[in-house]
């Protein structure tokens, strides 16, 4: 049943992915900027630029370049990034865990605080708690992430000295844990290396908090709305009349029923966080895929941009699938027709 659904959804995703491949290929070509001129270096003559163009295969007609690209894709070859000089697949594989670790932690922070704030606010609508929650959420979403990030760096690193230097995933004198998942927290825990775990967690704290604050608002608001609706519904009134403890009532009955729209929101938030963390990655020198794609874009380096968009496409499809499955787990009444 579940397997059938997965297969069905995956099949439905294929045209989407094909579209992503075509569109990214065309878009990167339509961008202003000439990679051949860029990489020919400052002293290039016209001939030198043409020579580079031939080396890069950019003198071929567009359809031939596209066929080449498809052929490479089929072999799992995403090309070479000219800016880092590495295969794009290797770059992405190395950087994806960095982005994912940061984004998931940011989401966890946002979900924890957001759901709590939403529930608290819904239980006392119109009270000062409600207003405070709304204020915090609004402030979080209105401040651009790079601003919050820079502010945190200034206060917690520069002035107070509590946070470690914003130097990426580890300080300069630690070395990464043995590679298992690519998530430093998990890998260092698996290796039993408390020192590295602490170092990685310290580096993660500020960027994750920055992302979390940004993502707080939609979650808090959705939780509050859903909770309000549920709390005023008949079955809750019945349960309350039957004398159920308030704690059981709120957490087991009301919250569980209010979760469905919250999960949808979480999925949405996660996907926009994957995009929004580009700025956070820049501020904290975080070696993620977002900053990678932006740097490549600036240099008109096609291969990494295409690889990035394709990866994101795959991620989104997977994410949607997971959310659909989560629906079923939360509410068995949901039956999804793919």
């Amino acid at each position: 049943m579940v397997l059938g659904l997965v297969a069905q959804r995956l099949a439905a995703a294929l045209p989407t992915l094909a579209g992503v491949v075509v569109v990214t290929f065309l878009l990167t070509r339509a961008l202003p900027g000439d990679p051949a001129a860029y990489f020919a270096g400052p002293a290039a003559t016209r001939e030198a630029v043409e020579e580079i163009r031939r080396t890069l295969g950019l003198d071929q007609p567009l359809w031939l370049q596209f066929l080449d690209y498809l052929g490479d894709l089929a072999r799992g070859d995403l090309g070479i990034s000219i800016t880092t000089g590495q295969p794009v697949l290797a770059d992405l594989a190395q950087r994806l865990p960095a982005s994912a670790e940061l984004t998931l932690l940011g989401l966890a922070i946002a979900a924890n605080f957001g759901v709590t704030m939403g529930v608290v606010a819904a239980l006392r609508p119109g009270s000062w708690v409600d207003h405070l929650c709304r204020m915090i959420a609004t402030a979080g979403v209105s401040l651009p992430t790079f601003f919050t990030g820079l502010l945190f760096v200034y206060v917690f690193y520069y002035v107070l000295g509590w946070a470690p230097a914003p130097l990426g995933r580890l300080d300069a004198f630690s070395s990464p844990p043995p590679h298992v998942t690519g998530f430093y927290l998990i890998d260092s825990a698996l290796a039993g290396d408390g020192e590295t775990f602490a170092a990685a967690a310290a580096q993660l704290a500020l960027p994750a908090l920055t992302l979390g604050i940004f993502a707080l608002a939609p979650i808090a608001r959705m939780t509050r709305g859903a909770m309000l609706a549920v709390m005023s519904s008949d079955f809750i009134r019945a349960a309350r009349a039957s004398g159920l403890a308030r704690r059981t009532l709120v957490l087991r009955y009301a919250l569980r029923n209010a979760l469905l729209p919250v999960v949808t929101t979480l999925g949405m938030v996660l996907s926009f966080l994957l995009g929004a963390n580009v700025l956070v990655e820049k501020v904290f020198a975080w070696p993620g895929i977002g900053s990678y794609a932006v740097e490549a874009l600036i240099a008109s380096d096609y291969a990494p941009v295409q690889g990035f968009v394709l990866t994101m496409g795959v991620l989104y499809v997977t994410l949607n699938l997971l959310i659909d499955l989560a629906y079923q787990a939360i509410d068995p009444r949901v039956r999804i027709e793919a």
């Binding site: 900027g33 000439d34 630029v49 990034s81 230097a165 130097l167 501020v283 600036i298």
Partner: protein, 535 residues
Amino acid sequence: MISRRHVLKAGTAAAAGAALSAPAIRGAAAQARRETLLLVSENPPNSTDIHGVGANRPAYEASWNLYDRLMTFGVKKDANGVDHYDYTRLEPELAEEWILTPTSVTFKLRRDATFHDGTPVTAEDVKWSFDRAVSVGGFPTFQMRAGSLEKPEQFVVVDRHTFRVDFIRTDKLTMPDLAVPVPAIYNSGLAKKHATAADPWAMEWLRANPAAGGAFRLERWVPGQEMVFARFDGWKSGRRPALARVIWRIVPQAGNRRALLERGDADISFDLPPKDFQELAAARRLKIVGTPVENAMQYIGMNVTRPPFNDVRVRRAIAHAIPYQRIMEQVTFGTAVPLFGGPAEPTEPVWPQPSPFVTDLDRARALLAEAGYPNGFETTLSFDLGLASLNEPIAVLVAESLARLGIRVTINKIPGANWRNELLKKELPLITNTFGGWLNFPDYFFFWAYHGQNAVFNTMSYQNPEMDALIDRSRFTQDEAEYRAAVKGFIAKAWEDVPRVPLFQPKLMVAMRENVEGYRYWFHRQLDYRVLAKV
């Protein structure tokens, strides 16, 4: 390799055995930190091979410290007492000595020098490296050609430790060109193992795997994030470097780079905005060194092939309408040398030197009226967005000033990736740009920027046979008096025809912690780890 973690682990083990006291552990960590330089920059190196396609400036730094050249330049003190490479003195690096004749130069290689893998350095390696530089095309081939080093036949292996370069013409740039970063010496045996039929020069492999013998080995490279260098203890080509390790981290945010330096977490960085350098210098918490970049200038270029800038009176009007002083105050914050308000005629054959122009709007207005534009005209001022922190305020100030002459300026920001291409097309009417040459000769600058060969750096498409004659004479004359006359002649011509208006000579600014010693300015504007120390 000593990382903090290892030191601390060793410390824990030792503490368990009660063999080491706590201060001793801290001492070891402090020792490691003192021998380690943490360098932060905005852009990551994309290669360790300076011959590679698209190797960027940071890659030059990697190559410079990983590889040796045959010769290097001497050192002198500049006006501020800072170490400055001396382009008039060539000193031994991999070559112990050399014999220079009018038709060739013969190098004696060090007999005890080895590459990082222990293979001895031979004349075969030198030949392979030079052949590669002139054969692979692109930047390295271009740079070699600048010193009349063009064909593999010029490079001759005499015996295992003797190597000769035959000259194809007398060119004063040949010898200095052998000491720039491009003619680095590669371990040819190692490189050939990784060459393929499609890639005979092992371009692919050498990008990430140095086959080098320089003062530092590549310990780790995480592209886009960090590069870690460790001292090569078998290095014979110079004095043993004081630093055991150099960690180069990429920090994209300028504010964070400054914070890292101020907090003492990073030791040195070039990449800060001019205003930050000014503030840091005033606060005296960090050592700030600014060295005028030799043979370089920021300028306003005018396309002389089409109206209105084909009229020399319009160009002179522009030269008198630029708000020079405001640019110095509001854009460079003292991190540059002014290039205006000089004598009417050049008195010394030096470059860059101040132009005779000063801001004089009445004069500019009169010149414009004379040229038939009493009410001004419309034009576009373009710049490279990649260097926007400097270019954008300049463009705004210039546009503002020109508006007072009735010249309506549209500012055109061109993305870095597209800038070169636009320059190659030679269609932009008005630009602000920067240009510098590695080799510090006025004629070298003029050959690229003013000569009728119309290279990409002649962004004005300026062509004048009299100018070309003066430039060519200065390049190849052996007579000192004739040389001086020719250089002063072409500078005077540049003031008279004014296809480009110099604004300022930028300074290479670097901020370092107080305990960093030995910083040396190099023409390639990258760090030389070999001479740096922490005290």
